[in-house]
Symmetry: C2
Subunit: 390 residues, 2 copies
């Protein structure tokens, strides 16, 4: 099994891009990542693309071939291109498949990308399309949407551990603050706890500022065998660990709805592969589709004990300069959440941090970072650990 | 890179299963394959599932986790489960990802499955959902459906090479004949050339008996490192070659619409990896979504020179007992074509043949077989070469 490195990275602007198409944005990401790596299309052995629901959002499946075609890699080069899907964890999954494909020796240079165009949705609404990430027969058909499912998690966390609406709001406030310094973020404005608490209620206790938005965007990484990475870049970033885990698709079947066991197991597997623990992580991007999800994540990843996440955030431990800076990119809350792209964008932000290229949101001296991507209410989770040193 | 073997295989009955759900049929396939391999769920390191469009057909994405859950592999075991998609080549793609995952050393025992439930389609029609495998913006929105696209290929093949409607019909007649001996086939009745030619026209020159049907079904394989395969079975089947290639998503952008370059390149890569050529293949399952597709396939795979496929079929070379028996299972035409399952079912039929377990449709002494799976009108193709000996 070969070690793998990231040699190129690019994220498009995230936002509502009415003037651009699905294929436009993913090509921008792919070309951007290749330029960053300094490699041409003829060097690419394979592509992996994370996309949750081209079928529902833009009535287009067969996303892998489409993207190879529009990137100039199909006719002539006939580069294999594979779409993977695990709802909002589709990007993280594309990253993992790309890593395995290089590790296996099947491929050397691989593009791992993610894309979602959510604002063009036609025959179904975005909430209905997203509900396909939950259990359609036992949740969606009963009227459950994702804000409703995460609201139940939040309510239970409050009841069991005393977590407060103010603590949830602090997650959004921090992520918006980080987003002000991220040029690709959908929202670059500061907000206050009062603003969150006085915003409209979506699903009690989650206000609209507790929710990540509907977003268009794409991101791409270029991967290479670690032993060859220095041929392409002076700052390769190494994949130290990769973990994936599943859990029940329906929330009501879980052992404990405030713990995402898929996150716990994906993290355990990634930490074991990297030979490190949570205390060794300098910076993390976690899956804050709702504010409560970030609190669960920092607990499930081992940064803080179960139940103490709310207080941990309130005390500033997850801010830049704190004990473990979380979502320096602005997270899903401020960057936006184009579901298939998010997992790649998270890894790309860790690359920015480990390269020392994160500008005003740089975590000084960051050597090891973690990216955590969740599908649905936690039926899939991916954890990747990246390092500046091999 | 480790060699990989197939140690278990199972295909559900294919057909219109109004009384069964998406999750029912895929669980039957997974459990069946595990029983065939004699391994329990606790041995599974990872799952890969091919599915074209759960989102459009049953309003369900996040298929990997769903299947892990309903197979009893999510809660407790937390087995990673990944859905892959390349339209009608999704099954072949799941097989390839499974192979790479074992080859990489990330996993030892892996399930590669495929599933589609096409008869429950609600908000969109099946043809419209399937059209998402083509270029939605330049084909689907102009009214092109798959029968129309393949009719253009057929018309061009007739014009350039003199291929006849009778030769197309011979493909369907042969595949129905093979299907009569396959217990899982949707259609188990013999038909005649006259019956095909007098059946209703779908898209000139393709009659309804030139078209594969709408089908529900699932199939699964269990993979293991080749060096450990004999621990599980006396008849492991070895993966000798795996090739994947892309082409333009729209038919009108191709160099020559009668040649599927993706098939040509996928085959070239698989033959090179296996160190053999087309003459070494004893039995093949090819992607006959329409009769013309089988004629293009046997040409593109190198069994016969370009343009001579029609005559080659007419002369009986592709029948059981002929030079190169093609689609002994009955193919997509008689087995049916649950799009995400087809690629796995094809490999499962080659496993049947190489194990000598194909009953009345057995190709005597078959040692090396080939499975060929196409997405859309040829934007993705996968070719796998399997062998009885390592």
């Amino acid at each position: 099994m070969r070690d793998v490195a990231i040699i190129g990275s690019y994220t498009t602007k995230f936002g509502e891009m009415w003037e651009r198409s699905f294929r436009d944005i993913v090509v921008e990401a792919g070309v951007g990542a290749l330029e960053d790596a300094g490699v041409g299309g003829e060097s690419i052995d394979s592509m992996f693309v994370g996309n949750m629901s081209g079928g529902q959002f833009v009535e287009q499946e067969h996303i892998g071939a489409l993207i190879a075609d529009y990137s100039g890699l199909a006719a002539g080069l006939h580069v294999p291109s594979t779409r993977v899907e695990a709802a909002c964890a589709s990007g993280g999954l594309a990253f993992r498949q790309g890593i395995q494909s290089v590790a296996s020796g099947y491929n050397d240079i691989v593009v791992a990308a993610g894309v979602e165009k959510m604002t063009d949705v036609s025959s179904v609404g975005a909430s209905s399309a997203l509900a396909a990430a939950a259990d359609r027969e036992w949740e969606g058909m009963m009227g459950a949407t994702f804000p409703g499912l995460y609201a139940m998690i939040a309510r239970m966390h409050m009841q069991q551990y005393g977590t407060t609406s103010e603590q949830l709001a602090q997650v959004a406030v921090k992520n918006h603050k980080n987003g002000t310094n991220n040029p690709i973020a959908q929202y670059r404005n500061n907000i206050t706890v009062d603003k969150v608490l006085n915003s409209i209620m979506v699903a009690d206790p989650l206000h609209i500022f507790d929710c990540s938005p509907i977003t268009d965007g794409a991101a791409a990484l270029v991967l290479a065998p670690a032993e060859e990475a220095h041929k392409y870049t002076d700052t390769p970033i190494y994949v130290k660990g990769s973990g994936q885990a599943s859990d029940t698709i329906a929330l009501h079947d879980r052992r404990d709805i405030t713990t995402l066991d898929a996150s716990v197991y994906a993290a355990k597997r990634a930490y074991e592969m990297a030979g490190i623990g949570p205390d060794d992580i300098d910076v993390a991007e976690v899956h804050d589709c709702f504010t409560i999800a970030e609190i669960c994540a920092i607990e499930d990843l081992g940064f803080v004990k179960k139940g103490q996440g709310g207080r941990f955030v309130e005390d500033g431990n997850t801010a830049i300069g704190g004990k473990i800076p979380v979502n320096t990119s602005g997270g899903l809350k401020a960057c936006g959440h184009p579901v298939g792209a998010t997992g790649i964008k998270q890894a790309a932000e860790i690359v920015n941090q480990l390269r020392g290229e994160a500008g005003k949101r740089q975590v000084e001296g960051a050597k090891i970072g973690l990216a955590h991507n969740v599908g649905g209410s936690g039926a899939t989770a991916l954890v990747h650990i990246l390092g500046r040193e091999r």
